[in-house]
Symmetry: none
Subunit: 212 residues, 4 copies
DNA sequence: CATGAATGAGCTTTCATTCAT
DNA sequence: TATGAATGAAAGCTCATTCAT
C-alpha cells in the first residue's frame, strides 16, 4: 500500500462494515469495498472498481468517504474493535481456561463466518499496516488480543490443564495462524458450519493427531 | 496485480531465485525482487524500487527480465518446483507415515528458513494468482503438493497411526496453514532454529495440547 | 504501431470524427488526433501531443478514450463506414456506368477535401493495419469498396462504354492510387476545388493524354 | 520519426542498398533494414528488430552505422541518386517526348521491381522527411526529378503530341502517384512483369479509358 | 447525492545509444 | 567485430482525488 496521509478518525455508526447486509448506503459501500479488498487485495482494488460495483461513478464515492484509505480504516476498525470486545468479554466471564479457550476459538471461527472479508483483509494487511501512520491501532488491537490469548493459555498451563512442556508464545501463534488462515479456504455456504470446524480443530488441538 | 499476458517460463541456469545469494546478476536481481515483493507486496513494489536497490536504472531491469511479472513468475516457479521435488522424494522414500509427516513438516520449516521471501510471496499471492492466466502452474503445483500430504495422512490413518476420528481434508489444511503462516513471524536470525520450531509444532500436533 | 489488444468498436453519437468541427468534446479530441496522426504519423504522435493541443493533460484523454489505438480505430471506422455508405448509394442509384464512375471519383475527391486527415491516415496505415488484430474491418471495408468499383468498371466494359482491351483489376488500382494519393499534395484552400481536380482527372482518364 | 540529429554524410560504396543481395555485411544489413522499414514503417522498426534479423545484438549494429537514421539516410540516398541519374540520362538521350515519357514510366516500374523496399520507404516518408534536418536532399532530388518529368510533358504538349487542354502540373502528380503507389500492391513474383504493368498503364494513359 | 471532466503524480515498459570487455 | 550490461529519455497508461454543475 502506498499510504501517505493519515486516515483520520473516520466516523462510523453501528453499521456492520465488511458484513453482508448494511442498512444504509454507507455500509453498503463499505461492504462492497471489503469484499473487493479481500478478494483482489487492497492495492489491486481501484476506487473505480468499488464505484462500478455500486453502480456509481468513482468520484461520487468521495461524498461518502474521504479517501480509499478511509474505507480500509473503517472496515478494519469496526472489525477489530468488535473482535476485541468479544474477546475481552470471554476473558472476563471465564471460569475455566479450557472452556475460555474453546470460546475464543469458536468466536474466531464465527467471526470468519460472519465477516470473512474483514478477516481476510486483516490477515493480508496486518504486517504491512501495523507500521503505517494512521494505522497504529491495528498493532495495538492485535497486541491486546494476543495478551488475552496468552493470559488464558498460561493460566491453563499453570492450572495443569495444558501441557507444561510447550512454549505458549509459539503455541499461541500456531493456534492463531491456523484459525485465521482458514478464512482463505473456509466457505460458509459449504458443508461445514463454523462450530463444526471449531470442533474439529479443538479435537486435534486438545487430543493430538496420534491414535492413543 | 493486473496480470494479462502470459509470462512464459523464462527460467535459466541453476540460480536459486528468491534465495539469498545468487551467483550471477540475474539471480541477484531476483533475490532483491523477491525480498521487496514479500516485504511490501507485489503491487506495492515498483520496478524502480527493485532497480534502486540493485543500483541500476529501472529500464535496465528489462535487459534481464521481460517484465515485472516475469520476475514474479520465475521466483514462484523456482520455489514451487524445488518444493515439489523435495516433497515427492520424501513420499517416495517413506516407509513410515509418521516419519514421513515429520519430514514434510521439517522440510517446510526449512524452506521457510531458506527462502522466506519466496514462501511469503507464495502465501500472499496464491489465491489471487491461481486464477491468473499464465500462473495456472501455481494451482497445479499446489494441488500436487496437497495430494502428497493427503496420501500420507490417510495412509497413516489406515495404518492406525493417526486418529481415525479426524477429517484429514480439514486437518491437512490446519497443518498447512500453521506451517506456512509462520513465515510471517518466524525470524531465522532469532532464537529458534527451524528444527526447533518444527519440533515444537510436532509436539503439540501429535500429543495434543492437554496434559494427560 | 504495436497493436496488441482489440480496440473494440467504441463509437458513440453522430460525431463526424476526423472532420473539422466536432460538436462535443469527444469529437473535438478526435479531430485533433486525426490531424496529428495524419500530419506526423500515428507512431510519431504521442498522446501528450494530442493532449497538449487540446489543452489538457495526457492522462485526461483516457477519460474519453480507452487508448491511443481506440482513437485511431474510431477515426478510421467513422471515415470508412461513411465512405462505404456513399459508394453503396452511388452504385444503387446508378443508371449509367460512366456517370456512376464520375460520381465515385467526384465523391472520392470530395472526401479528401472534407476529411483530408482521415484519408491520409487511411492511406498511410491501410497496409499495416489490415493485418492487425482488431482492425480487420479496415480490410473488409476496403474489399467491399473495391468490389463496388470493379462491378461498375466491368459493367461499363461489357456495355461497350469502357475499352475492352484494358485489365480492369489493374486499372482500378491505377485509379484508386491516383485519387487517394492526391491527398498528399491537394490543398483544399488552394486554387483548385475538388470538382476541378476530379474534372481534370476524368478528362485525362477518359480521353487519354495524347492529342487526337 | 523523432529525428533530431543530422545524419551526416554517410559513406557508402557501390552496394545496392535496399536491394536484395548486398555483397558485403554492410549492404546485407542495409537490405534488412530497408525491408523492415518498408514493411513495418521506420518508426515502428526497432534497431533490435534489424539486429535480430541479422543475427547479432542491437549494439553491434553501431559498428556499421552511426545511428538508425544513418541507415535510413543511406538507403534513401542510394535509391534517389540512382533514380535521378537514370532519369537524367533518359532526358539527355531523348529525341521524342513520347518515347522519353515511355522510358520514364518503364524505368519507374523497373525501379519498383528492383528495389521495392526503397521505393516504399521513399513513398511513405517523403513528406515527413523533406522538412527534417539532414534530409533536405530528399526534397532536392524530388524537385529535380519533378522538373525532368515536367520538361518532357510540357515539351510534348508544345510539340502537339500531348493534349493541350490538360494541366501538366496536375497531370504529372497523377502519373507520379499512380506509378509509385503501385509499389504497395505490385508483386514482382506475380503474374505481371514490370514492363507489362508499364504497358497497361501507358495504354490507358495515352488512349484514355473510353471506347472510341 | 451524483456526474463528468480534469489533475498530477507515478507506474511499467520501450528503445536508441554507449562502452568496457 | 561482436557481446552484454547499462543509460536516459520518453512513451502509453493508471488511478486517487478534486470540483463545478
Amino acid at each position: 500500500m502506498a499510504t501517505r496521509t493519515r486516515p483520520g478518525s473516520a466516523k462510523r455508526g453501528a453499521a456492520s462494515a465488511g458484513g453482508g447486509s448494511g442498512s444504509d448506503r454507507r455500509s453498503q459501500l463499505l461492504s462492497i469495498a471489503a469484499t473487493l479488498f479481500a478478494t483482489r487485495g487492497y492495492a489491486e482494488t481501484t476506487v473505480r472498481d468499488i464505484a462500478d460495483e455500486a453502480g456509481i461513478l468513482s468520484g461520487s464515492l468521495y461524498h461518502h468517504f474521504s479517501s480509499k484509505e478511509a474505507m480500509l480504516d473503517e472496515i478494519l476498525r469496526d472489525f477489530l474493535s468488535a473482535l476485541r470486545d468479544r474477546f475481552r468479554k470471554i476473558e472476563q466471564d471465564s471460569v475455566d481456561p479450557r472452556a475460555a479457550l474453546d470460546e475464543l476459538i469458536v468466536a474466531s471461527f464465527e467471526a470468519i463466518s460472519a465477516t470473512p472479508h474483514a478477516v481476510a483483509l486483516y490477515q493480508a494487511q496486518v504486517v504491512a499496516l501495523a507500521r503505517q501512520p494512521g494505522f497504529e491501532y491495528v498493532g495495538e488491537f492485535s497486541r491486546e488480543i494476543e495478551k488475552i490469548w496468552l493470559r488464558l493459555l498460561v493460566a491453563g498451563q499453570k492450572a495443569g490443564i495444558f501441557r507444561a512442556d510447550v512454549d505458549m508464545n509459539i503455541t499461541y501463534r500456531f493456534i492463531r495462524d491456523t484459525v485465521w488462515s482458514s478464512v482463505r479456504w473456509y466457505r460458509p455456504r459449504g458443508k461445514y458450519k463454523p462450530e463444526a470446524i471449531a470442533k474439529q480443530y479443538l479435537h486435534v488441538l486438545y487430543g493430538g493427531l496420534l491414535a492413543s
